[in-house]
Symmetry: D2
């Protein structure tokens, strides 16, 4: 029952995702948050750190990495929840000192950074986990297991989408500001912020990789510097085809991530806003609604589910599954055991940034096909 010592970079008072990471780390009681550099200025960092009762508060992440690495009971893992452009430089400092990293997505704001971060992670003994949190939902695991078992046959078509509506108009609060600033968010707007989730989810469930894509991106809101709507044709290795839609200007959609997968013998459908359900549609039979922990749900889902069927689990539970599996990995690593995991890796992160990069390049060339390197 000794909890893993956790640090955090970013996630100060007015950040959304930092609080989510903290709850997620706490849900299964596997972590203790003890240190942080929570904001971009020392004052704000201190203020936020004190509000959380952190044992050790740092002015900046580099100082934090150096000192924690030297402490006898320093942090074993750090959560990086800054804006995207800070991921690489931050992660590097911890990785090179052997501190595991749990990093928010997308991996980085540029492809160059992503490649460097991949190199840094590969060159470190420390673990690197990317919080494509939707992979933590039980019914996403269920879908992945069913595909792997061949329950829908060879996959032909993937329809994935992640529409939102919060940027339908110009917004200038902090979240909106950095997420629409290419310097901090990266060249992709909706593609980077949510398109990467959709891309990752499609690959996670199907086990397929995108080979090439053609993207038609728009910035519909006047003055917006990054895309707020993206239409993407996908070609997967092995012949499956897909469509991906991401949007921040689709009124009535909150976080309507949704995926539909069709194989030679059946289909699957899952929606993030109603995550406890999975439709399975075997060809020639009635549609079946599989529920979390209910009849028809298998082992993969049960392992990441906490309460009985009919008692809904949500976003935080899915996010917490990432943290709890990361804890398993950290423990295995600590004990020199093989570290097996389904969690998104730095490689998945690189593929996400490649996806964004390919979307932006394709769109700049009138939606020409762009190949994604292996």
């Amino acid at each position: 029952m000794d909890r893993i010592k956790l640090g955090m970079v970013g996630g100060g008072n007015d950040a959304f995702i930092g609080a989510v990471h903290r709850i997620a780390s706490r849900l299964d009681d596997r972590y203790e948050l003890v240190a942080g550099a929570l904001s971009s200025t020392p004052e704000k960092s201190r203020e936020s750190g004190e509000a959380l009762g952190l044992a050790r508060i740092y002015d900046d992440f580099k100082q934090m990495a150096i000192r924690e690495a030297r402490l006898k009971d320093g942090i074993e893992v750090v959560s990086i929840v800054t804006p995207n452009h800070m991921h690489y430089t931050t992660a590097r400092e911890f990785l090179k000192r052997g501190i595991h990293v749990i990093c928010d997505k997308p991996l980085t704001s540029t492809l160059a950074d992503a490649k460097k971060l991949m190199k840094a992670a590969e060159g470190s003994d420390a673990l690197f986990i990317l919080t494509h949190n939707y992979t933590g939902y039980p019914m996403v695991r269920q879908a992945r297991e069913m595909v792997a078992k061949g329950e829908i046959g060879k996959i032909r078509v993937v329809q994935v989408e992640y529409p939102q509506d919060w940027l339908t108009i110009h917004q200038d609060f902090k979240q909106a500001e950095w997420r629409t600033d290419p310097a901090r968010s990266g060249a992709g707007g909706s593609t980077g912020d949510i398109g990467t989730h959709a891309h990752n989810l499609a690959c996670f469930i199907t086990g397929l990789e995108v080979e090439a894509l053609a993207a038609d991106l728009d910035a519909f809101v006047p003055g917006r510097q990054v895309d707020d709507n993206g239409h993407v044709l996908l070609r997967f290795k092995g012949g499956a085809k897909g469509m991906l839609w991401c949007s921040q200007v689709a009124p009535g959609n909150e976080n309507a991530l949704r995926i539909r997968i069709y194989g030679e013998t059946g289909g699957l459908e899952w929606a993030q806003e109603d995550p406890n359900y999975l439709w399975h549609t075997p060809f020639g039979e009635p549609k079946r609604l599989i529920t979390r922990n209910g009849a028809g749900a298998g082992e993969a889902a049960a392992q990441v589910s906490r309460v009985p069927p009919g008692h809904p689990e949500g976003y935080l539970e899915g996010f917490a599954n990432i943290y709890s599996e990361a804890a398993d990995m950290i423990k295995a690593h600590r004990e020199g055991q093989e570290v097996k995991t389904l969690l998104p890796t730095v490689k998945d992160g690189l593929r996400g940034v490649q996806f964004v990069d390919a979307c932006v390049r394709s769109s700049a060339r009138n939606a020409a096909w762009v190949t994604i390197p292996n």
Copy 2:
């Protein structure tokens, strides 16, 4: 109360769509079916015609056109419900003799035929109506009216799809056979059979026209000669963007035509399988579910609705609206009045065939953009 004399070409015993047209013509008691050349052989025509109790049964459509045109109380309008490749030659014979035509979609199996049919229709005093029947649904009319009134603002994004699953495997019954035979169906498979419906619906509701498209078509089922799955990027005149998906290999989808439209101030969503509902999602307000004839539904929907809210209307009622509005047109034409209508015209039919043609050409060129002429 004198009913309009109606004839039918095609729609013999084992056809699906002929029976639908007959019910649709009967629902509001505006037509009387009196003549027909219901099948491709005289024997079958006779057999089918007798089963329906037709007053005049013909061996073939040409004979029928000639004789009916001469009769004092011959048919005033003919329904053409043959396979696609017969539409042009059939329609031509009636149009040139001043007999109105109600023709099943798509307009023709080839672009060349479509242009000739357009010319034939324009050169005739007779009316030509294309049964893109989904435009007859009350809540489709409601959506169209709301867009026209600016209730969702200038349109940015259109997501439209028409997945089915009946051709997930090779099928060889009659319906499947001709619809997958390019000689009878046309070069487009799913694009022609259902993609045209999706295309038409998007244009009907939004009032926009597709300017260019990029299509990635597949024939997933081995041996299939026409596409059974199509992924299409759309660019509308005026700057709106769209995605169109049509598929006949998506298990769990029966006739899942669905459209979502997003404008600067709100969104609309409608699904053919649950046609009595229309979601309206004004930005910054709770989602609203408008029901057929219910609170919030307007004049356009009420005009084509027969029963109170909560008593569902379906496919046949929507189809019957096409026939009943065609009856209004025929009556207005007869009386020399101006013929106003929302019904799909030969021009809409041409645009549908252009859509299929563009899809096929784009896909052949690796999903390059293809412009659709005006």
Copy 3:
């Protein structure tokens, strides 16, 4: 193809249900409406009859019964679509002259009339059919067939409800006026108008009969003379239990008739507003959504369905099934064949009126149990 000659009593210009009966009779082309006494005054009758192009228009139903019975090609069947209090006297005149009767529900406005009408029907060679139209929906037939085949085991619990909202406030248009007037509607308000539908549906699908009930009825709207909300506990013969709720004051409910049936091994759920779906919930297995004409739907549903799965059928199609099966019965009767049917009979009508009577009596005695005689 010779159509059955049909007459109509009631259903003049401003009536809702008369138009429904006419469309229903026409849908499958089995009837020809030739005669009518459509309104309570000769003037209105004439006006309405002419608008419909009736061959023979009568001043009143008695005159009509007498004359039609004498005509060589007089009507073979009459539809009675008057307010409830007129059903008995009207039906009697036709039954005693051997003219079949298709009568709107509830059977009568009083129990005394119901018994007399039952006697009249039993004493006549003519057929009597009651339009509990919801029994005509394909998925209701599907549910009935599944119960009969034991697919959910012995039934334990039935939850049935029919909420509406149109009488949430005082309304004084014609439909509201007579339906809230005990002299015309009967002692039951919501219980008579829609509770009888719920009661009938429960019995139709389960094959069970209500043995006793306890009812708590209210007239919530000030000045209303009949119940507008009813809460009813049901005990079925054989031990199943049920709850029935009918309401006309439940905002947001249009015609939300819905039934859920639970047996020892599974459940079924159907909702009138989405009638093309039937949930089947076998215990210990994922829920299954059976669709009209789709995979998993059986023979009973297919026989009363006209279009492929995914093309919704609605209220009028269900209603038309009553008429078309009545046509089968009339033809069989004409030819001296055995008349087999699932259609609601005069006995079912009597049981409906007994249900209303029992509700009213129970409620008057503080929701004491009232036994329903066999």
Copy 4:
């Protein structure tokens, strides 16, 4: 940031609800679980306590109450998560020593115990909180706020139900065993275990109290000693009427708690399995779907919600709201401030047990009306 010291009685290794309480207490980082008597035998208590890393493990709850009360930094609050029959004796020991109690529902297994526990709570300075956890859902709070603000007018009708299916057959695992044993569960089976939740929810949202009820209870599974299905008519003070259905034998229902409330000007509908949505149906306007933290959601919901709209919260978050508000109460109590709360009190608990008692007595008298004392 000093966390409240928490103890737990019950909730050993194989219990479901204990783990839920622990997660709920942890989610917002307001508690530290330090002591426990987690099982009915000292050995199991020790084993479970060690697995959780508890600082102080006790053989039994009495010993725990005595010692913790004497410790300088002993627990400030205890969670009681034993079977129902142990609630009273356990709570008493802590209450009389000034230790706050968070107690699972129903309050007790007998009415006599409930009254004694109420007296004990009233006689203590310590706080008593009952975990009718569904009151913690944001959209339940939203509904309550809307009713209080008069947004649906004076309430007329309440439909509430809580069907499950897990006891459709005889089950003999531990959870099933004690919950169907009247000695441990109380005289009510489904009425006590889930009917109380439904009853509480109805009262919580509407602000109304049940004045009288008539119940028809059944034990459908052979050999079952307590009801597994209950049909209850409700009369609320002030004239509203209701129906309550609870069942553990309704295949296809997991935890399908659902409430519908109709007032003079509108309705509300909420379902526990999809808790992030609330339907609002103002009479004469389109239905509105209010989402958690979305447009149209108010202050009451926002206060108990953690993540943005479209990211679902579930059962654990709702449960955690109970704990976090209890923490607020404890803190206010500690500082001598007024303790304001919406949380279920011992009085609510008593009313719940009165509800069960009334159901059982009513059913024994053939569903006669039983008045619930104030």
